[in-house]
Assembly symmetry: C2
Homo-oligomer: 93 residues x 2
């Protein structure tokens, strides 16, 4: 089993800040779109055991590192919010 | 749900070629180490649905793209094979 620790870290970050990102849609589909887009722009950090995620997480206690992650997340949230593709927002088109 | 399509593609590639990579150990721990190391050196391609993995896979029908993946895999296989850290190879130390 291999896990990208950034997946967990970014998901936690999105869950924490989704209400402050001024998202036009907060359905699961849009949140997944934001997450996938952000992770594609983030260097992967694969570990072989979920216990090891905390070692990667520890690096992001540093405020500058965490801020750069947050900037990526906010940029991707804007891209998805500007043009959401979920069923809820496209059903009227 | 988000999935890194490269995870599946690289795992399939490793399964196909593991017998030809002259690995010093082929236990699950070492194979995971190779996979994690390779994925950390590979640009992630996250999709929001496992059905979409095939679109990413289609890009690697191109021989040059597939070869560059294989080169990464072989390099990481050598790193792990030179210094395996699994229980089986370290229990005598």
């Amino acid at each position: 089993m291999v896990i990208n620790a950034m997946e967990r870290i970014m998901k936690d970050l999105l869950d924490e800040y989704k209400n402050r990102l001024q998202l036009s849609c907060t359905c699961d589909e849009c949140l997944d779109d934001i997450l996938a887009l952000t992770l594609n722009k983030t260097h992967p950090r694969y570990v072989t055991d979920s216990d090891k995620i905390m070692y990667v997480k520890a690096e992001f206690v540093d405020k500058q590192n965490m801020t750069s992650l947050f900037v990526k997340l906010a940029e991707c949230a804007k891209i998805v919010s500007d043009k959401p593709t979920c069923k809820m927002t496209t059903k009227g088109e």
